[in-house]
Symmetry: none
Subunit: 234 residues, 2 copies
C-alpha cells in the first residue's frame, strides 16, 4: 500500500472538508492537504465526527505545487470522462481499476479532488499521472466530493483484505447434503425427483456459503426432522 495523501483543491464548503476527513478516518488514511481552501470552522469539525484529528492535522498550502511535493504518483479525480482518444486529457480509469493499480505501490500517492463546482482545472489535470472517474448516471455524473473521496478510498481499502466468518468445510457440507438426502427418503419423497432436488439444495447452499455455525444449526434441523419422522413411524 502506498502512503496516501488526499489533496482538496480549492474546496468552497467546509462541511465537505469535514466529511472528507471522516471518510479518510473510515478508511485509514490520515494525510490531508488543503490547497487554498475556504475557512475551516465548526461545521467542518461537526461533519468530521471522529475524523476530527485528521482535520486538525491537515495542512493548508497556497499552491498545488506545494501540495504535490514529494508525491510519487499524482491521481486526479474527474466527473467528466471521455471515450474519445482525441480528448486524451480526460481518459480515465475506474476507482476499482485505480485501486488495483496502486495496491502494490510503494512511495507516496497524492489523490486530488477538485472544486465543488468546477472540479480540477485543465492545468491541474495535466499534473496528474492518472485520472480516476467514478462510473455514474449520464444525466447527473457529478458526485459530491466527499462521496467521491469515500468511494475512491473505499476501493483502495477494499483492495486489501475482507473478513468473513469461518466457512463450513467441504466435508461438513457433504454431511449436510447427506442429511438432506436422508430427509427426502424419510418423507418418502418421489424417487424420480430426488436427484434433482438434491442438486437444487446443493446449489442453494453453494451460493449461500454457510458459516460453520449455520451449517451446524441447519444440520440439526434436518436430522431432527428425519428422526422425528422415523420415531413416529415405529
Amino acid at each position: 500500500m502506498p502512503e496516501t495523501r488526499v489533496v482538496l483543491v480549492g474546496p468552497k464548503n467546509e462541511g465537505n472538508i469535514g466529511a472528507v476527513a471522516r471518510a479518510m478516518k473510515n478508511f485509514g488514511v490520515s494525510t490531508l492537504v488543503l490547497v487554498d481552501p475556504c475557512p475551516v470552522g465548526d461545521e467542518a469539525y461537526k461533519r468530521a465526527m471522529h475524523g476530527a484529528d485528521v482535520l486538525a492535522r491537515s495542512r493548508t498550502v497556497g499552491s498545488l505545487d506545494e501540495a504535490l511535493r514529494d508525491a510519487d504518483l499524482v491521481a486526479g479525480t474527474t466527473g467528466i470522462t471521455t471515450k474519445s482518444e482525441k480528448r486524451f486529457r480526460r481518459i480515465s480509469v475506474t476507482p476499482r481499476d485505480f485501486a488495483a493499480r496502486v495496491a502494490a505501490m510503494d512511495g507516496t500517492l497524492a489523490i486530488l479532488f477538485g472544486r465543488e463546482d468546477f472540479g480540477l482545472l485543465e492545468e491541474e489535470l495535466e499534473r496528474c499521472d492518472i485520472l480516476v472517474s467514478i462510473p455514474a448516471a449520464e444525466r447527473y455524473p457529478v458526485l459530491n466530493i466527499s462521496h467521491a473521496a469515500a468511494i475512491v478510498l473505499y476501493e483502495m481499502f477494499e483492495g486489501g483484505e475482507t473478513h468473513r466468518p469461518r466457512e463450513a468445510s467441504g466435508a461438513e457440507k457433504e454431511h449436510l447434503h447427506s442429511a438432506f438426502r436422508e430427509l427426502l427418503i424419510a418423507t418418502n419423497y418421489p424417487r424420480h425427483l430426488r436427484g434433482r432436488t438434491n442438486i437444487m439444495f446443493r446449489r442453494l447452499i453453494g451460493r449461500a456459503v454457510p458459516s460453520k455455525w449455520e451449517f451446524h444449526t441447519l444440520m440439526g434441523v434436518l436430522t431432527r426432522a428425519t428422526k422425528t419422522i422415523r420415531r413416529g413411524k415405529k
Copy 2:
C-alpha cells in the same frame, strides 16, 4: 437489475437526507422512502443539488412495515459486523458481493440505512434478508449514511449484469420461512432456539437468492416433512 428503493430509517439530519438523494441521482436510483424522519427543509434541498427531484418525490411513512410493503428482498446496512459465528445476526456481505448477488434480481429491492447514531435496531435487522457491511478501519468503521449509500449504490451501478433465473418473490419467501417455522414446531425444536434458527434460515436464503423453481422445490420438502411428522403422531 432490481427496482431499487432506498429506505432511510429515522434519519436525524436533513443534510444527510439531501446528500443521499444526490447520491441516488448519481447512480440512477429514484425511489426514496423516509421512515419517521426529521423535518426536511432547505438544507436537505441544498445538499441534494440535482437530486432535488428524488427528494421531492420521496415518500414519508410512519413505520418500517409500511416502507417494506411489496419489497421482495430487504437488505440492511450495518457498520458493525462480526467474525463470531454465534452473533449470526450480524453476519454480512460486502457491498461488492451484495451488488453481484442482486445484479440479476427481478422485483423490488429495499435497502435500509439506519439512524446516524444508532444504526438499525435489532428488530429492524431481523427483518432483513441480507446484511451489507462496508469494510472499513477497525478504529472507526462507522460511515456517514450518505457515504454508505453512495458506496452501496456505486457498487450496484458498477456491477455488470449476469443472467440468472427468475427469483422467488418476497411473498413466496415468506411462505418458505413460515414453512420452516412450522417444521421447527413439528419437530419440537427447543423453543428458546427457534427465533435464532429462523433468522439463520432467513439469512441463508437471503444470500442464496433462490429461483422460483428452487423455492417451490424447497417449500415442497419442508411441508412434506412437517406433514409426515404430523401424520406419524396421530
